[in-house]
């Protein structure tokens, strides 16, 4: 091939796209030697390939569909009393669903519903999506305050918007630590301003018996806040402190301050109204207002988490857990790399055995390798965490990617003759039509896995689909062009 032909080949848009993508991918992967002299890259590894642990938590709660001829509000309040837990109406467009924040089986619930003139129409263990999101926020908060950098939390929500599981992945943490982090609660305290900057202890977190979700009081007023309930002794202590330090007579000078792990998270005076009421009676149901509009809502959301002090609104049990040690992760990484290289070499040998022609085999293997590079580049770019199933997907892409190059080569080389450009194009398009159908079947076979929350297999499915797409859109057309140049020599 002379330099003119080479230039023509490189400037062909299919080949050019491939080359540009390879360069961009290498930049995205950014292989380099780090400070310690180790080979490093931008690739991120999942828990399989580095030290870390995962916990799968199951919600001890259920979402129940119901019908009743009673007023819904009263019905919910009565249920809540009888079941001794929070019962919340799930916002849903089509039907009535309740979230019951304590575990009961369907047969346990049926008589209770019946006694309130209600009927259960559906039953599913788990929580509503919004509760699951709250749990996720609480956990994230907790993990952040403990300074663990690399945490991933996913709620696994089913098709009906009920989440039964939540998965926590912590890099660089062993399993014992992970269990402690998730189980640990923060120290919550309410203090009162006495004189100047002095404060005195009023309550600790144990006296808060429940925390409500952010709400507007009065309803629809856009004045946001979080309601919470004190135990009887807590309410008495609260009243005593308010009277003792003069907060009931002069509320403006005596802010109430909430602290989580000794950091102030909220500070406000008693309202005039509350101050008056406290003078005569202890009050168990309190409301901390956070202001109006977006910032009010945001602050209320945060305050709810702080009030809970890291306690989750719903009990959870550990449904699964696991961990990989640092040396084993390193070892897996080396082995996976080895498997990839070994697979590429083996595939190359099989191809060589068939064609016995380096000028065909070499481009094939290079195209195959380029596909993997582009995929890795993409993985680096989207900061996807590679795990062992993903690597299996990459190796499978390698094995099947070359299949399709074989289809193209054989189709073009049909009957051993090198075709004229016209015939070549016809044959190439025929080969591509075979490839597109084959690719479509792989994509469609992987779609269910990519959409379902089947634990670790999601990444595998996404990578396989991406691999097929990169192949069909970029590398196969480029290969068609390159092989034509080589054969027409």
């Amino acid at each position: 091939m002379n330099s003119k032909e080479l230039k023509a080949l490189v400037t062909d848009w299919r080949v050019a796209t491939l080359l540009i993508l390879i360069v961009l991918s290498v930049i995205a992967i950014y292989p380099h030697i780090d400070d310690q002299g180790h080979l490093a890259s931008n690739l991120q590894y999942g828990l399989d390939l580095q030290q870390g642990s995962w916990l799968q938590l199951e919600f001890r709660a259920e979402v129940v569909g119901f019908t009743t001829d009673q007023p819904v509000d009263a019905f919910v309040t009565n249920l809540s009393k009888k079941l001794d837990t929070e019962v919340i109406a799930v916002e849903s467009t089509n039907s009535n669903h309740l979230e019951i924040r304590k575990y009961y089986s369907q047969s346990d619930l049926e008589p209770v519903f019946a006694s309130e003139q209600g009927k259960i129409t559906s039953y599913q263990q788990g929580v509503s999506k919004s509760t699951a999101d709250t749990v996720k926020r609480v956990l994230e908060n907790k993990i952040n305050t403990l300074g663990t950098k690399d945490a991933k939390i996913n709620t696994l929500t089913g098709l009906n918007n009920v989440a039964r599981f939540i998965r926590v992945e912590l890099a660089g943490v062993d399993m014992k630590q992970a269990q402690e982090i998730v189980g640990k609660q923060g120290k919550f305290e309410i203090r009162i301003q006495t004189t100047g900057n002095q404060t005195e202890h009023v309550l600790s977190g144990e006296t808060i018996t429940s925390v409500q979700t952010p709400s507007q009081v009065p309803a629809g007023s856009d004045k946001w806040g979080v309601g919470f309930t004190l135990s009887e002794s807590g309410a008495a202590a609260f009243r005593a402190a308010a009277i003792k330090y003069g907060a009931t007579s002069d509320p403006a000078k005596h802010n109430l301050i909430m602290l989580l792990d000794n950091t102030s998270v909220y500070s406000a005076p008693l309202s005039e109204d509350l101050a008056g009421k406290l003078q005569s009676d202890p009050i168990r149901q309190l409301f901390a207002s956070t202001g109006t509009g977006k910032s009010g809502t945001q602050q209320a959301t945060n305050l709810e988490i702080h009030l809970r002090a890291g306690a989750l609104p719903v009990d959870v049990t550990i449904a699964g857990s696991g961990g990989v040690s640092a040396p084993l992760g390193e070892r897996y990484k080396t082995m996976a790399l080895l498997a990839g290289i070994f697979a590429l070499v083996t595939v190359g040998l099989v191809i060589y055995y068939r064609y016995r022609e380096p000028s065909i085999v070499l481009p094939m293997v290079l195209i195959n390798a380029s596909e993997i590079i582009i995929l890795l580049g993409f993985i680096s770019l989207i900061k996807f965490q590679m795990d062992l199933p993903t690597i299996a997907g990459l190796i499978a892409v390698l094995g099947t990617g070359i299949d399709q190059l074989v289809v193209i080569t054989d189709e073009i080389l049909h009957e051993g003759k090198v075709p004229s450009p016209n015939l070549y194009l016809k044959r190439l398009s025929r080969a591509l039509s075979i490839i597109i159908v084959a690719a479509a079947t792989v994509v469609i076979a992987m779609v269910p896995l990519a959409l379902m929350d089947l634990s670790t297999l999601k990444g595998f499915a996404i990578i396989t689909i991406l691999g097929v797409l990169v192949g069909v859109i970029v590398t196969r057309p480029a290969y068609g062009k390159i092989i034509m140049q080589i054969l027409s020599k």
Partner: protein, 283 residues
């Protein structure tokens, strides 16, 4: 290519399909028997039934390991490269916690995966759905692209036979259905039809003598499957040496599935297609 000399011309459609159909029937019977005995057509692994899997890199013998964990429901110890793969049955939370600390003490570098029973059950029902959806999706793509019943049916039947035979073999040699092997089965659904599509395309959409087209398709098709087989074999060897259970499972199932795929493409599918063309279908 000289190694494989397979003369499709020689055999009648009936001769071609008889062996795979017999194996398919045996496989279906095997799966049914397993289903009757256990409630599942394949043996669910820890991912689906619950339990604890532990990978350790050690030179300790099976007996030593068994004695370390005498107090725990150790179900199986298997060899893997220079390590061992341990399976424990279900246990309660406190037992599990004491097990993890014992493992940390004996084998600080172990890999542990524990799946609770309810989580396993949820995964299991999702896995079944994923398999069904994948298969239906694949069948739709095939029918849409060929738009004739018999050839499309032949491709789908071959893929179905691949699945069933692979599952039956998994039962025989004791590979359980795990997340990894599920992934491999789904991959097979997608990849096993590659060579069937090539075959059908060549036979139906190309001019020429039937036998020439079949031979040509075989030449291309067999090399396609060989490359994937080679990649899977490479992965199997390295993952065995490196004691990576999940890669081992995936590659073993791929390997089994692809071997059956060779049979089902070049006997089952070819047989049906030949019959269809000879009786006047196609061009």
């Amino acid at each position: 290519m000289g190694l494989i000399n397979y003369n499709i011309e020689k055999y009648s459609p009936k001769q071609l399909v008889i062996i795979p159909l017999a194996i398919l029937a045996v496989s279906l019977i095997l799966l049914t028997l397993t289903m009757v005995a256990t409630g599942m057509p394949v043996t669910p692994g820890i991912d689906f039934s619950g339990g604890t899997a532990v990978t350790v890199i050690t030179t300790d013998t099976k007996e030593q390991i068994t004695s370390y964990f005498a107090d725990y429901p150790l179900v199986e110890v298997s060899d893997m490269g220079n390590g061992k793969f341990l399976k424990f049955g279900l246990m309660d939370d406190s037992k599990y916690k004491s097990l993890t600390s014992l493992i940390n003490q004996e084998y600080p570098d172990a890999r542990i995966d524990q799946i609770g029973e309810t989580f396993g059950k949820t995964l299991q029902s999702q896995a079944v759905l994923a398999l069904i959806f994948s298969f239906i999706g694949m069948a739709i793509v095939i029918f849409l692209s060929f738009r004739t019943f018999v050839p499309s049916g032949a491709v789908v039947l071959s893929a179905f036979a691949d699945m069933v035979m692979t599952a039956a073999t998994m039962n025989i040699i004791g590979i359980p259905l795990s997340l990894g092997t599920l992934a491999a089965l789904l991959m097979l659904i997608g990849y096993s039809v590659d060579s069937d599509i090539l075959l059908t395309n060549r036979v139906l959409k190309r001019q020429g003598k039937l036998n020439d087209k079949l031979t040509g398709a075989f030449h291309t098709g067999i090399i396609m499957t060989s490359t994937t087989l080679a990649a899977a074999a490479a992965m199997l060897i390295v993952s065995w040496l490196g004691s990576i259970q999940i890669l081992m499972d995936i590659s073993a199932v791929l390997l089994i599935g692809l071997i059956f795929d060779v049979m089902n493409t070049w006997l089952t599918n070819v047989g049906i297609l030949k019959w269809y063309v000879l009786k006047g279908g196609g061009k």
